[in-house]
Structure formats: C-alpha cells, structure tokens
Symmetry: D2
Subunit: 380 residues, 4 copies
C-alpha cells in the first residue's frame, strides 16, 4: 500500500479535527486508501509547534510553511489557518507540487479564491475544500435521491446554518470578527457551508438578493480593553434563484439563540420533499407525493430514513446502528481526499466548488450593499 | 331520510361530548346516516335536567330513565353515568327495545358486563361501547395496515394510557376513586381504552400478569373533610400474552407526570413496526423492514403517515389538511352507531367487545392479587 | 343575558366554519358572552340559500345582502364570500349599523382595504378580521411571553405558511387563482395569515423585499376546457424589516409538497427563542438563554409548553388535556367577536389590523415587480 | 505525568472500541489523567494478534493472557472477550495485581459474577465494568437532577433497550446465541445495560417478574449447515419493583423492528418527569410539574436540555455545539477508569455494580421459569 505524508498548517480547533481524522481512518475504514504518515505540523511559534507535534503525533513541528513544502515526504498539506492565510499558503503548496486540503471559505475575496482555483486547475493535484457536510451520510443520500428524480421539478427550498455563539455582546473580538482576517462574518463562516450544501444538492445559483446585518456592532478587544467596532455581519439573509428556476431562502446566523450547530435544509418538489437537520445527523426525511393512493388516503408522509454510517461504501465502523458524531464527517471527508490523491481523480468538493461558493458569497455582499438582485458572476 | 330519536342519560363531561357529537354530525358528514332528534336528557335532579335540556337542545329534561325508555320517539339511549349505573340502565333500555351506546368500561364487574353482553346478544339492537379510540383515523389506518400484513408475524408491543391528573395528593375523592362506584381505578378508566386498542389491533388476550398499585392511598373527602382511603389503583402495569403468541407490556397510569392524554402503542413485527401517540393524533408511524435494499443502505425508516380526517370514508369536513381535535373522534364513533342503527348491522365496538375487555381487566385484578399469570376467562 | 342576531354572507367552507363556531360556543365556553340567534344566511341562489338555512339552523335563507342588513334583529354579519365581494358587503353592513366579521384578506387591494378600515374607524362597531391564528392558545402564549421580555431584543425570525394543495397542474382554475376575484394568490390566501401572525407577535413591518412566483402558469378551466393562464402567485418569498430593527424571512406557498396546513414561526432574541408549528397546535417551544448556569452546563433547551385550551380565560371545555382541533380556534375567534360586541370594546384583530396586513401584501407585490426593497406605506 | 500500560484481551468489535478510546483520549480531554502506553493485545491466534497489534498500535501481540499479566509495564487489562472467558481472565488479572476493565455482563452466571466481585473487593485495584451508558452526558445530567430532587417521589418508569438485529431467521448462530458462551440472550446483552441504567438512576431493584421468549427458535449454524436450536432469549420483558417502592416496566429486545440502538428510559415522579433516548444522545427531556402557575396555565412542558459534551467536567473537545457519537461515551468511560487508577479511587461502575446487575438478570431468569415474582437475592 502506498504511503502518503501529510503536513498540517495551523493546529487550532480545525487542525486538530483533521489530525484526528487521519489518526483514526483505519478504525473507520478497512481498508484505507493509503497508509498515512503525519510528517509535520506548522504553527506560528516554536513552542506551540512542539506542543502540536506531540499532541498530533507528527514527526516534526515547524514554524514556516516552507519547512513542510520543501520536504519530499510531504505529499499533501492541510490549510487550517485563519482565512487571510489561505491564499498564499495554497498557492505556495500548489507551486511546490503538494496536494491541498483547505478550510472553508476558500479565501477572503472572490479574487483570491479565483487565483487559487486557477492554480489548482492548472495543476494535476487534488485540491479539496473542507465542505465536510457533503460527507454527512444523510446529505449524500439526499443527493442520490434527488438525482434519481424523487423530488421531480424543484419549486422552492429553505436552508439555514444557525449558531448562537455570538449573542453575548461581551464576547470579545477575534479574527473571525475582523474583516481583514476573515473577509466576512456569519456569511463567510456559516454561509459558506450552507451555500455549498445548496449547490451540492441543487446545482448553481443564478442570482441572489442578500441582506447582511451586524446587530452587535461593537465588542471588547481580545485583551479586554475598550470596545472595538465589529466590521463583519452577524446575520446573512438571502433569497436565491437557481439555474433550474427554483428559488429559496437561505440564512446564516451567529445570533440564532436556541441553536447549537444547526444546518437545515428543506426542499419542495413537484413529486416529493426532503428535510435535513444537522442536529439529527443520522436521518434524512423524505416525502413522496406520488404513490399508491387509496380512496380515502394513501400512505403519504415523511419517511425518516436511517442514514448512520451505511452510505456510501465501504461499510464502516462502528456500524450502522450507532449515531455518528460530528467528527465522523471530517473523517469521511479526509478519506475522500486520500482516495483522490491515490486514484489521481479530481478532488470533490474541489477548489472550483470553493470558487463557485465564494462567488455566491461575493454577490450577497454586493446585493446587500446595493439593495437589489445581483447575478452571480461566474469566472470566465 | 329516517329520523332517529336520542336520549342521553347523564349530562356530565361525557354526556356533553356525545350531545356535541350529534349536534355537529351534519357538519362533519354529508350525508348523515339519519336525521337525529335529541329527544330527552335524564339527570338526577329536575334543576340539572332542565339546565341540561337547554344546554344540549333536547326536547325534554327528565329525572327518571323510564321517562325516556317509555317514549316511542326515543330509539336509542346513551349511558353517560358513573360506572355503577351502567348495568341497570343498559338492561332496562334493552328490555325497552332501545339501542344502547354505553360509556366504558362496560360495568363494574365481569359479571355485570356479561349480563349486559348477553342481553345485547339476545336482542337485535345496536349495543355499542364508547371506545372512541377505534375512530381515530390513525388507528383505523393501523388496523388496515396490520390486516394487509405490513407487520408480518408480530413479536411484541408496548402500549400505555398515561394521565397525570391524580399526582396531587390534595385532589379530593370522587366516584372514580370509589371502588363501589367505579369498579376500579386507572385500570378501569384508562386501562379499558388501552386494552381495547390492543384487542382492536392485535386480537384477543390469552393471559395476563398484572400489578395494581395505589401510590396515593388517601385523599381528602369531596367536602374537604378529613382523609379517606382510596380503594382503587392509580397505576396498572401488565404483561400480556396474545392468542397469536405475541407479548406486550401495557400500562394505565393516573400518575404519569408529563403526560396530558397520552395513549401510545408501538408494535414490532417481523416485517414492520407501527407507532401511535394520541398526543399527535393525526399521524401514524409505519416502518417497513423489507424493501428495495441497496448495496449501502436502502430507505428504511419510519414513515409518518398523514391520517387527519381522510380515512375512512366518507370524506369529511373540515378536510384532510386540518389537525383533528379529540371531539372529532367521538363524532365518528356516534356516526358509526347511527349507521349501525339504520343498517341494522351489529354494533362495533359491540357490548361483546366491552365484555372481552372487562374480562381482561378482571384477570389483571386477579393476577395482581395472586402474583401469577392468570388466563383470561372467556364467557362460555 | 343579551341576545345577538347573526347573519352569515356566503355559506361555503368558511361560512360553515363560522356557523359551527356559533352553534358550539356554549359547549366551549361557560358562560358565553351573549345568547346568539342565527338569524339568516345569504347565498347567491334561492336553492343554496334554503340548503344553507337548513344546514346551519338559521331562521331564514336569503339571496340579497340587504335582506339581512335591513333586519333589526341582525346585529352582526359575517362576510364569508370570495375576496372580491368583501369591500361592498362590509361598507353596506357598516352603513346599516351592523358589526362585521370579515374573512381575510380584508380586500383585493390596499385601496379597498383602506376604505373599509376608514368606515370601521368612523363607526363604533366591532369590525373584526378572521385572523383566527391569533386565537391559537400557543400563539397567545407566545405573545404573552414576548411582552414579558422573555426574548429580549429580537434579532431575527423566520415564518412560513405552507400548503401543498396546488402542486398538481391538473387542478383547475378557481376564484382563488383569478386575480380579479382574489387580488392575489398564495400571498393573499396564506401570506395574509402569516404576515398577521408576524405583526401580532412582533409589531409593524417597516419595509419588505418580496418575490412572487407562478410556477404553474396555466391550469384547466373549471369546466374542464382548455388551459387558462394563472394570474396570481403560487409562491411568495419575503425579506422583512420590522420597526424594531429585527429582520425576518417569510414565505407563503401553495407548492410546499409535504405540508398540510403548516404555519410556522421561529424567533431568535438575545435572551430567548420561540418556535411554533400549526401542525402541532397544542404546544409552544420556548428557549431561555439565560438561567442558572452551572460550571459544566445548565439546563438550557427548548421547553415544549403545553398550550391546549388552557389559555386564555375563561377555562374551557373539553379541558386542557385534549389536543385541540383547528375548528376550535375559530370558536375562540368568534367568542372574542361576541365579547367585543357585548362590551363595546374595539375588535381585535380589527379592520385596522386587516389594513396594516394588506399594506404589507401590497408592498410585497410592488417589491416583486421592481426588484427592490419597498417601504410599507402606512395609511396617513 | 504518570504513564500507565494497558493490555487488551480480545480485539473484536469492542476491543477496537476501547483501543480507539485510549488513542484519542488526549483529543477529547486536556489534560488527560495519565499518559497511556498500549503495551499489548491478546487474541487467540498469532496471526490475528499481529494484525491487532498493528491496527491498534500496541507494542506486542500475544496469544496467552499470561504474557500480558506477567509484564510489569502492564498496569491494567481490558477484557473484551465473549462472556464465557470473563471470569477466568478477571480472576487471573486481579491475582496478578492488574486493574481490570471488563465488558458487560460481568459473567455468565451470578456465581461467576460474585466470585469476580469478591476478588475485586478484596483487592485495592480499580475494577470497572463497561457500562458506558453511565457516561452519556444526558444520563449523567439525569442522575444529577434526580439527586437534586427534581422528580420528587418516583412513582413509575419504563425502560427498554431495543435492537432489531435478529429479526431475520436466516441470521446464523453465534456465540451470543449460545447459552454456554453467553449465559443469556437479549437479557444479558441488552438487558445488562438497561438494568444498569435503571440502577444508576433509581437505585437497587427489590424484586422482578420476568418473561423470557425465544421467538426464533432455530437458526442456521455459523458454517451454514442445518438449523441449530437457539438456547437463549431474544426478548426479555420485566416488571420491576425498586427498593424505594417505585415500579417499572423494562424490556430488552433483539426483535424490535424499527430500532437501531435505542436505549430509552422515562421516569414519572410526583414533581417531575424525565425522558431519554440513546438515538438522540445529546438531549435529556425534563418536565417540572411545579413552577409558577398562572391562572390559565403556566409554562409546564418538557424541556429538551442540551447535553452534548458539556457535562461532566472537564470541558472537552470538540465542544458543546456538536452532536456526540457513540464512540464518545466509551472514551468518557475509559477516562473515568484511568482517573480511578491514578487517584486510587474505587472504580465506578464497579464490579459490585456488575454483580448487582447480574443478580437482577438472574432473578429475571428464575422468574420467567416459575411465573412468579422473584426477590433479587443480594450477595450476603
């Protein structure tokens, strides 16, 4: 079996998640697509690099990306940094001939994203975005059913990614609230995921009407000193029109009191309907309007299809009986990345998916500024 | 269209419910099986009788049952009194040639019930018991699906009727807590319904192991004077074995904190499963274990079938979109009674069903006393 | 007790519902605010008028509104006709000194609605709109909790009224699909209710961005002859901005496959959140973000508050245990109307509420036409 | 930080689960109670031992338990074998001075279990049973709330552990269906867990009335040859009476079509109620009957308390927002075991808990045989 060496850039929350995924891939999948060696981890300071190395079980801890990119035994790097660093790191990695797995959103701006997409397209590398929701079995099943025509013509849908983490005005500033570092707020952080899920299931977005709001307009500085202006949205509301003519309402909120980590989507078609909620990740609800009708009522209703770890192949551990946790979806995403590298197949979700998502986010920002519908400009 | 005259004996809570049902039948059903005249209502005192007459829209209010039974224009009587009076009233009504619609449980004792059942069987009258849960559309649908073999061989089930109305020890005594008046407690009041639902869906009970408990053993007298001993159970737990070999756990509780009016049943068969909860009366959950399996998972899961007012025929008002209320089920039960009278068909649920249910309740009382399984003695 | 005479104009589905409400008020409420006499019903033809009279238990059936309005014993009329007739009937009734209970939406156009609102305001009559959702106990409870400050500052919300009745293109034309008769489609039929619920709970709408769609653009004529163009929307999507600065997404759909009669609202505030769904009308979900926090987690979570018939006063039949049906909410609405008549209190929801709702619907139509945000023009 | 060496005996499904837990402890917890070295794994054949060693990351793979027990660097062993081997392995391990973590049920018979319990009690070793459900945050929260008196006096409860894995008669025999190897069927496999959850939350069981059934009485041999008799139950129904006077119905089923891995418990007390379902492991439903009542209804209802990874301390990764998977509970159980070893505190759940559980299972077997209530004999 081939051995692939992995470097991880950034070892905060999401860096740990990816590392966990690699370290447990052989539990979840048998066989694994490749043997993995965790070669190195890169953080900003020597002290944190050594701690990350020991924690994640890497061979080395470094403080400069080049130290990973220059190694022949590093075949792929994971970009787990704040958004502001994605662009430079990805271009450098691609230039160095490394496969790239980049956290979402792809970049801070559509220009940055397009440059990354072009570089990926010009290479023969697997360049994947961390849209791990595409690896929730219930959403994979949803896509399968839609492709089979279970919904028929889609009329309309609603989707939302709801968090409650910023309702407290005393929560201080962080890079996620800094426009320069993040490029956007709820729209970029949560909207990227929900827009990608919409694209994954229903195809491309033609135009949008968006509203961005910043309800909590100032917050304490990270060091506790006086209030700083918040430059990014904490709520994004969108009307979207899809290429197929269907329309939908989409939300991304950091102020959705009562939600923990709730990505929902509901789709209404002529022949059926679907419902999904990430807070019940093991089930997909499917409604078939057609069916053997009887004089006084058929058996219409939502079926709550069990979608634990049974789909897609290969069958996985710990088995289809058990409720999967959130970490499991990242393991499946990393499994797909490894497979693409081994099989020299195009990554999916690819940097091109990342660019297309960014183009929607960009159009939402433009629409919010001008108060009109904005066509989603596709990279020519 | 034939006109049928109705008398109602007792005008407490349930007497009002039946009267409501008659008065609204032509809203719910079109056409109705017969034109109804509310001839008379009987209560214990002239003052309440007049109030009942005016409230329900009866021609007359009387204080002696005979005043109703002696009238030629009364074709049927509803027995809506405490349990202790069911037996005498029913026998008198049958003797007078009146159809009878009797509240549940049929009587205080299996002997009383059997006498009532015998009299009904010897007549050609429609004699029905108020097992209105048989007229919840979702349970009618459940029966239909079971008869079609959706469950296959039934392995086991659990059923419960849960109320919370007696958790407060300060709630005073009433006829429902008086053994002489009621014949039993939670077992008779709630257990009668849930045992009937079990019989309706799954057939006859072969034997039972029961436990009756009285957690709150004394309560204030109705007049607020000192504590009186409670003679009846406030909780009944049962293991039941059915004629078909399936087994189940059944509960009737007046102490089920957190429940309002919760009759639940879940059935597990080799080919499928069913779930129902009266607190969501418009839906039946059905699981099919069989189906087109795919390599990595089929579409197994509970379907929440819409069962508003769409089943059975005839189509009804206000239409299948709207959540039905509890009163609606009583209207359907009264509709069935009228139909039986008009068509001279045997009532269903009949007094024989009432007797069979009472035989189960009786066996539970015996089992609780002796601590062993008790066969359900069937009337020879 | 005072006796009030009622006339009903139109005896289709909703006319029957109102009549049912009157005929059962004394079951649901004790005492009732007034003794009611169902004086007359008006339909378009003598034959249907007589049938309506007999069905509803009215004294007379007539074919001209004036026959009701000229009677001294008619104190109030219910307008249960297609939308096109509301305006003239209401103005005539008010001119005749009759209280008016008018189906929603108030009229076909904002001009008609404002004329009706002005006439009502200039009178001392109770003029109410059939916004019966305001009488769903769970929504009354929601309003009570919001007024107590349970939500704190409201950030955002989403609301929808979802039906599936028009997904079949073979469903023929009707007055509801005729712009001249109805004034609008899903927006007017369902949007009127959901916009009113939003106003009821959260106050006035400042501006809207709306999109109206007609997915099924032609349908058979009612007589089965060739296709006719559908002139009204079957889907309305709205972004709304409220006077208090909160924002929301609102939908009205006749194409929401999988829904029966689903009015949903979810509100996120700084201190709490609310959820309601008309398909579970007996419960309100309330989330309190504040509370006694413990080191490792408090007791945060949605509480599914029981809201059967317990709120508001007076306590009602058949009691708080039982799931209420949809008809029940109309009875409560009619109870409020009677009370306003008896107490000479302003109706609520009033014609002014009907006008305010119509102004929002109008702004949505304008916004959809121009593709921009439109301020809700308030009648000066 | 202390380093502890671990040996794992048996590397089937559950052996992998425990190994996974150790390998990821430093992700989930920071700091960890001890540094862990996975010293050795023992399986029955050299080939599987080497495969297990490589898969789990152990230093050595061996085929005789003694090879682990004789090593000074092994401080604790996990017994992950079929039930028949628990007794001998545990006694040998305790004799060798090793801490023991033994899969459930503790043994095949109450005699075996008591011998194991005595040996554990006579040592100063941490001897824990894999009752990992005690580490589901929602059940820990349930225990906390019960101890605070939220339920008041407990009246009754129902609990069930429902699987559907054996509904297919073509599923062949295995050690789990062999009485000699397993000691019991659904009762031992699933009943052990649900009885332990009942004991964890509500205390000791005084007496039981049990019914064991074997619906599918023969199955193919593992090699596909002709049918073999199934000697163990596939369904266990129990009535239980607790030391505090409360009563309950308890089930363990391998034939519960429609369930995946569904451990449910509902408890009704005078002051409140609780509901839990392992298929929604992140939430506990709590009902408080008391509270600020208002004239027409308070705010009574079940609160769905969020119980992700927030309880108990220490705060854990990946954070309270994310739905935990089933593996997570095993990690928490192993964390507790390590803590007990490091702190020289008594293990919990201890071998004494395993014995007490086994005594209940034994009484159920006796009761099922004699058809009467059986007192749970406590080891003197």
């Amino acid at each position: 079996m081939i051995e692939l060496g992995i470097g991880v850039i950034g070892y905060g929350f999401i860096g740990k998640v990816h590392t966990y995924a690699y370290r447990n891939l052989h539990f979840y999948y048998d066989p694994v697509p490749a043997r993995v060696r965790l070669v190195g981890v890169c953080t900003s300071r020597a002290e944190t690099a050594e701690r990350a190395r020991a924690h994640g079980g890497f061979d080395v801890g470094v403080t400069r990306i080049e130290e990973l990119l220059s190694r022949d035994d590093v075949h792929a790097v994971h970009i787990c940094t704040p958004n502001a660093l994605h662009h430079d790191a990805a271009l450098a990695a691609i230039a160095a001939g490394k496969h790239v797995y980049c956290d979402k959103p792809l970049a801070r701006t559509v220009e940055e994203a397009r440059a990354m997409g072009s570089a990926a397209a010009a290479s023969d590398l697997a360049c994947q975005v961390t849209f791990h929701c595409r690896f929730v079995p219930a959403l994979m099943r949803a896509k399968q059913l839609i492709e089979r025509g279970v919904l028929g013509r889609v009329f309309h849908f609603r989707a939302a990614y709801l968090h409650a983490g910023y309702t407290d005005p005393a929560r201080p500033m962080s890079w996620r609230l800094d426009k320069e570092q993040s490029g956007g707020g709820a729209l970029f952080d949560l909207g990227a995921h929900v827009v990608d899920v919409v694209r994954y299931l229903l195809g491309d977005v033609r135009r949008v009407h968006g509203s961005l709001r910043t309800f909590i307009a100032e917050r304490p500085a990270p060091d506790g000193s006086g209030p700083r202006p918040v430059e990014v949205d904490d709520l994004a509301l969108m009307q979207v029109e899809m290429n197929d003519g269907s329309v939908g309402l989409v939300e991304a909120s950091r102020l959705a009191t009562g939600s923990n980590d709730q990505l929902r989507i509901e789709i209404h078609g002529q022949k059926g309907a679907l419902q999904f909620d990430l807070e019940e990740p093991g089930w997909l609800r499917v409604y078939r309007a057609e069916g053997p009708e009887e004089p006084y009522g058929g058996e219409r209703g939502y079926t709550r299809i069990e979608c634990m770890q049974r789909y897609p192949k290969p069958a996985v551990w710990p088995g289809p009986k058990f409720v999967p946790g959130w970490l499991r979806f990242h393991a499946a995403s990393v499994h797909a990345f490894l497979t693409h590298m081994v099989e020299h197949s195009p990554a999916s979700p690819s940097f091109a998916d990342g660019v297309a998502c960014q183009e929607v986010l960009h159009a939402v920002q433009q629409s919010s500024a001008c108060g009109r519908w904005v066509d989603v400009a596709r990279e020519s």
